[in-house]
């Protein structure tokens, strides 16, 4: 059995809080993770998840993604890697490059 000592701790969602969604399709079924919705509050997350899964679910659970710890038995799917800041222009560089096309 794995030690589940590989944590995936990258953030999920920047404009709004992200909520992990779990549904049960029948009372005898297991609770299944079905993805996540972006919403500023639990109430809005519930409305959004209900509009997507209300047709088939008998139970709906929501958990804030930033309160969820994700551990894997194997190393991360995409391998290690620092966040991409170094790969992206600074705001100043971006602004100085904008509309520079005619100079090139």
């Amino acid at each position: 059995m794995g030690e589940f000592d590989h944590e995936v701790d990258a953030p999920r969602g920047a404009t709004s809080r992200e909520w992990e969604v779990f549904v049960r399709e029948a009372t005898a079924d297991p609770l299944t993770h079905v993805g996540s919705v972006s919403a500023p509050s639990a109430d809005v997350a519930r409305e959004q998840a209900a509009s997507l899964f209300g047709r088939t679910a008998v139970a709906l659970w929501l958990c804030p993604a930033d309160e969820t710890r994700r551990y894997q038995a194997e190393a991360a799917t995409l391998g290690a890697g620092a966040a991409g800041e170094d790969a992206t222009m600074s705001v100043a560089e971006m602004q100085s490059e904008t509309l520079r096309g005619e100079d090139g």
Partner: protein, 407 residues
């Protein structure tokens, strides 16, 4: 995507095999010889953008957001997509050119056999950047312009954005890149459409893509500025008329309609009225093979943090994250009842969609718009502009009526 130039003017294109299973009859080298079985993947490589457009589905901003996939993670994602058989990756954003490793990622996609294409606002494309994109193996650059200068710049939040985008297009064309226009039609810019087409025809673009507004990201804030059904019908008719006019004049420009599969039904009706019954039958069969709205099937999105979405416009819901599971495992996981229902949507569509004679070529168009406006995943798309007489009645042509050379 619906190729007006292919369907009404028989203009061959690289996407014929991918889109219509029509590689054999095309004179153009094909992206795929068989119709796609795996989705085209839009990858929003960053949320950062140098502009602030009113209709941005990604709600992009000038600041760098936390959690962007790194260069190494991006390459691992591209390996993942290649293993799964994704035919095309569309580098999008935010503005993808703010990433300094964009060319490295494009070259990597090319190396692993996923066709790299680009969606950009064009204002960062200098002559040297266009050359480096071409050298990296980029196959196509789609540049967004949403009106003549005044309206475009107002929409995009930067004076000079129009001129910058046109210079970017010219730089791409000079570098030998296949380059096209992306134009999202709304009430605010419909009047500029012909002016932009005339101008960019003279510039020499290879392709026009006309997008209907989808209601995701900041697009939800300008739903009121969307076209009425009558105005939409007029705009789509104008696109069809213009396409035939410039093809008659010898301009071989590929022209596509994107984002509303009511267009598929309209194109059959248009062909019937203007090009003849035999061509209408061919158009219908191509569109039947194409398969209608591609949400959750032939198009997928991976955002800058690795979240997988049903389309690039539907950022408010994620199926899972590629940092947790390979893309193919997420996309194939039909234990998810929403994914299952979307892929079997014909059984769930309600209202006028349930009995529409064009259901097979449209498949209800945008589920996101239905959800946003009606709060009902399977309600009719509020952008449907078909008339009742077009909706009612038997299927226009029986299934299996293959177009033949005699047509």
């Amino acid at each position: 995507m619906i190729s007006v130039s292919k369907l009404l003017c028989d203009l061959d294109a690289e996407g014929d095999g991918l889109r219509y299973d029509a590689a054999g009859e095309s004179t153009k080298r094909q992206i795929r010889d068989e119709k796609q079985r795996r989705p085209v993947v839009v990858w929003n490589v960053t949320k950062q953008c140098n502009l602030y457009c009113d209709h941005c589905y990604a709600a992009a901003d000038t600041e760098i957001a936390d959690g962007e996939l790194s260069t190494a993670e991006g390459k691992a994602l591209l390996d993942d997509l290649a293993d799964y058989g994704a035919p095309v990756v569309l580098f999008s954003g935010g503005e993808p050119l703010v990433r300094n490793d964009l060319e490295e990622l494009i070259a990597y996609a090319n190396d692993v056999g996923v066709r790299p294409v680009l969606s950009t606002n064009g204002t960062l494309i200098t002559a040297e950047r266009a050359e480096s994109l071409k050298a990296a193996g980029l196959k196509y650059a789609g540049v967004s312009v949403d009106g003549l200068p005044e309206r475009n710049d107002d929409f995009r939040g930067l004076e000079g954005a129009f001129e910058g985008a046109v210079r970017g297009i010219e730089n791409c064309l000079d570098a030998g890149l296949k380059t096209g226009l992306r134009y999202t039609i709304t009430e605010r810019n419909a009047a500029d459409l012909e002016g932009v087409v005339d101008l960019l025809t003279d510039v020499g673009v290879d392709r026009f893509c006309f997008y209907h507004l989808d209601y995701g990201g900041r697009g939800t804030e300008i739903v009121d500025a969307d076209l009425t059904p009558a105005d939409r019908r007029t705009a789509v008719k104008r696109v069809c008329d213009m396409t035939r006019e410039y093809h008659d004049e010898g301009e071989e420009i590929e022209t596509l309609l994107v984002g509303n599969y009511a267009d598929a039904a309209y194109l059959v009706e248009y062909a019937r009225e203007h090009v003849g019954e035999a061509q209408a039958r061919r158009v219908y069969e191509y569109l039947r093979v194409n398969g209608g709205d591609p949400t959750g099937e032939r198009v997928a999105d991976v955002d800058y943090q690795g979240n997988v979405h049903l389309t690039q416009f539907w950022q408010g819901y994620s199926l899972g994250n590629v940092r947790d599971r390979p893309f193919g495992d997420i996309w194939e996981d039909e234990s998810n009842p929403l994914l299952r229902a979307l892929r079997n949507r014909d059984a769930h569509l309600s209202g006028k969609c349930a009995d529409c004679r064009y259901a097979e070529v449209c498949r209800g168009a945008s589920r996101l718009r239905a959800l946003t406006v009606e709060d009902d995943l399977f309600a009719p798309d509020p952008q449907c502009y078909l008339e009742d007489s077009e909706i009612d009645g038997p299927t226009p042509f029986g299934a299996g009526d293959e177009p033949t050379s005699a047509d």
